[in-house]
């Protein structure tokens, strides 16, 4: 659990949510057009 412990105030979960959203927004289209 030490990885999840956020001692330096860095917004890790916010970064995770943001990158997951970016993947979710783009991957379906990329898969559909078979890139």
């Amino acid at each position: 659990m030490s990885v999840l412990r956020n001692r330096h105030g860095r917004a890790r979960w916010l970064a995770l949510v943001t990158w997951l959203y970016v993947l979710w927004s783009l991957v379906p289209v990329l898969v559909a057009v078979r890139i």
């Binding site: 105030g9 860095r10 917004a11 916010l14 970064a15 949510v17 943001t18 959203y21 970016v22 979710w24 927004s25 783009l26 379906p28 289209v29 898969v31 559909a32 057009v33």
Partner: protein, 311 residues
Amino acid sequence: MNSPAVVQVDPTGGRPPRTGAWAAFAMPGVGWLIALFVVPVYAVMAVAFGSVDPILRTPQPAWNPLAWNFSAMSSLLDRVLGGDLGKVFLRTFAFVFLALVGCIAIGYPVAYFVARKASRTRGVLLALLVLPFWISYLMRMLAWTNLLQQDGYVNRVLQWLQVMDAPRNWLDGDWPTVVIGLVYGYVPFFILPLYSALERIDGRLIEAGRDLGASALRTFLRITLPLSIPGLMAASVITILPMCGDYYTNSYLTSGSPRTEMVGNQIEYFLRGSSQPQTGASLVLVLMAFLLVLMVYYLRTTLKAQRESER
């Protein structure tokens, strides 16, 4: 050492401002609005309050307001307030509400991160957030249609992960599919105005909150969140308005199933799929009236907040 004197320069040179010249800059916008909003809305009203050719079933617009006939609107309102169309309106508002909750849950953290936390990656993330705008909404819905088919990637991945034993038909008229489709389609429109509002918040206010001993959560709840409310409302209005009239999300993701039919689908049906253009035009006006109430509330709240911030 004496500091140089600050000279206040009056940009008008003492002359009264010529508002007429500045107002002229608004003319293209006003002309655009008249040609592409006022005239089309009047045409819809002329069709709604006109008549229908008894043989060809084509609309006969009544351009003279004195000749308007309100019988079609009256019978439509009966259907909206207590009949079959009332259920469609309630379903539409429920879908839009759930989709808005989804947009807030996904869009707020993303906008907050890009605006306030991402420093090195901000440029890349902004480009990636804008990227969905380059792809047509229909194309994005068709992509999901492809993925959600019985032999599509969603079923294959879920079966591979052993979440499901047999493939599920996601496109047979389930409401979660429509809500997820609405969230997917409109969340980029939600994120950008919210990002803009969050990015404008003065960082010194947040620093002051932290310096005065407030925790990160308390600083967010007492400073960032209240200051982002106008942006949150603008983003909500920008997404709610098109979602209420959306028809192709349901058409593509559930093949227009009656179980998930929205107001936009009914309008499309009356105007294109049946010979009831008057009913379709009346439904457009009823939907516009509902959305007008929302817009008036938004404008009143925004103006009130603006006046309070100027005090």
